[in-house]
């Protein structure tokens, strides 16, 4: 029975780490119940509605970090492009995670004598896909900066699953010089964490040549173990990346 301290949580919106400056975060999955009560009923009835939604609230402190909350909200506010959001309830592979998508409609600051400057945002939910809102999954790869090709540790699902998955990754920073001047990222799978069944690509590899967030829909059966595989396709470079996996 595990409780989680807030300082183990991380929040990513597009290419930004909202944990930098973040103080209060809430993320909800919502579906409204409808009232089908008729005149002959002696007690009110409820039926679940058809449209699922999500709510996201965020507030914190102004921080001038180039990849932090204020710079992120400032860059994204007013854009009609939905932004991928990952809330990680831990910093290790297999920590619980929630994946959703929002548009940023407001960034707000203030000044109060003697106080640290606050920042908050207002967000409009825009579904990942039909019938989806806030989806529950796991941390596939915690935020890490690497400078060489790297494979993440295996994420154990206890069994394979047959309904595919959402695989999301946020590239917070990157550089690549020489050669093909890029990174590639792939979702790999194995039935036994690479023991007798070597990891093989389930999705990708996908080229990375910019910061930003990407949502990939992976179809079909996924083996029990998955991992992130990063390849530096250049002479030198660096990448800061974090990833979430939601089995459907």
């Amino acid at each position: 029975m595990a409780k989680i301290l807030s300082n183990n949580c991380r929040l990513y919106l597009d290419a930004y780490d909202l944990t930098i400056g973040g103080q209060e975060i809430s993320l909800s999955k919502i579906k409204e119940a409808k009232d089908p009560t008729t005149v002959n009923d002696t007690a009110e009835k409820r039926l679940m509605g058809a449209v699922v939604d999500a709510e996201f609230d965020f507030s914190g402190l102004f921080d001038d970090d180039s990849t932090g909350a204020f710079k992120g909200l400032k860059a994204l506010v007013g854009s009609d492009t939905a932004r991928l959001l990952s809330l990680h309830l831990g910093t290790a592979i297999d920590a619980h995670a929630i994946l959703a998508q929002f548009k940023v409609s407001s960034v707000k600051n203030g000044v109060k004598h003697g106080e640290l400057l606050p920042v908050s945002g207002v967000f409009a939910h825009d579904a990942l896909a039909a019938g989806k809102s806030a989806e529950y999954g796991r941390v596939l790869y915690p935020k890490t900066t690497v400078t060489v090709s790297t494979n993440g540790g295996g994420l154990n699902n206890a069994a394979s699953s047959a309904s595919g998955a959402y695989w999301a990754y946020h590239v917070i920073a990157w550089s690549a010089t020489g050669g093909n001047a890029k990174w590639t990222v792939a979702l790999q799978e194995s039935s036994n964490d690479g023991g007798g069944d070597p990891y093989a690509a389930k999705d990708g590899p996908v080229d990375i040549t910019a910061v930003g967030a990407t949502l990939r829909t992976v179809a079909g059966t996924i083996e029990q173990y998955t991992r992130l595989a990063l390849v530096l396709d250049a002479v030198s470079g660096s990448i800061t990346i974090v990833s979430t996996l939601v089995r459907l």
């Binding site: 029975m1 595990a2 409780k3 989680i4 301290l5 807030s6 300082n7 949580c9 929040l11 973040g22 103080q23 209060e24 975060i25 809430s26 993320l27 909800s28 999955k29 919502i30 579906k31 409204e32 119940a33 009232d35 009560t37 009923d41 002696t42 007690a43 009110e44 009835k45 409820r46 039926l47 679940m48 699922v52 709510e55 809330l87 309830l89 619980h96 929630i98 809102s133 529950y136």
Partner: protein, 110 residues
């Protein structure tokens, strides 16, 4: 779980006063749906823990039986839909959750 809010067996009240009445009159109407809010510290215990339970039923169309036992004897019972599941992270605090359940049909107290 730390808080349970909204536990109530509530009936609608209708105004029945007529012109000839010298005092206001009321009629009891149908039983109203209750909205129960359950709060606690986020817990990832498999299968029976709050995250496993509420993340699995939120938005689902199948009602779930809810029983709230007050003193080991008296209890509320009703069928409910989970319409909201919230995860909340606050600076320096343990992560918390809040789930909203709305009753479908009668609420009984036994």
């Amino acid at each position: 779980m730390t808080d349970v809010d909204g536990l109530e067996k509530l009936y609608d009240v209708k105004e029945a006063t007529q012109l000839s009445d010298t005092s206001e009159k009321r009629n009891i109407g149908i039983q109203l749906s209750l909205t129960l809010t359950v709060k606690g510290k986020f817990d990832d215990t498999a299968t029976s823990g709050p995250h496993a339970v509420f993340s699995g039923i939120v938005g689902g169309s199948t009602t779930r039986t809810v029983t709230v036992v007050l003193d080991g004897v008296s209890q509320y019972s009703f069928e409910a839909l989970c319409t909201k599941y919230k995860v909340e992270v606050k600076n320096k605090e343990l992560v918390e959750y809040e789930a909203t359940l709305v009753s479908d049909g009668a609420v009984t107290i036994s």
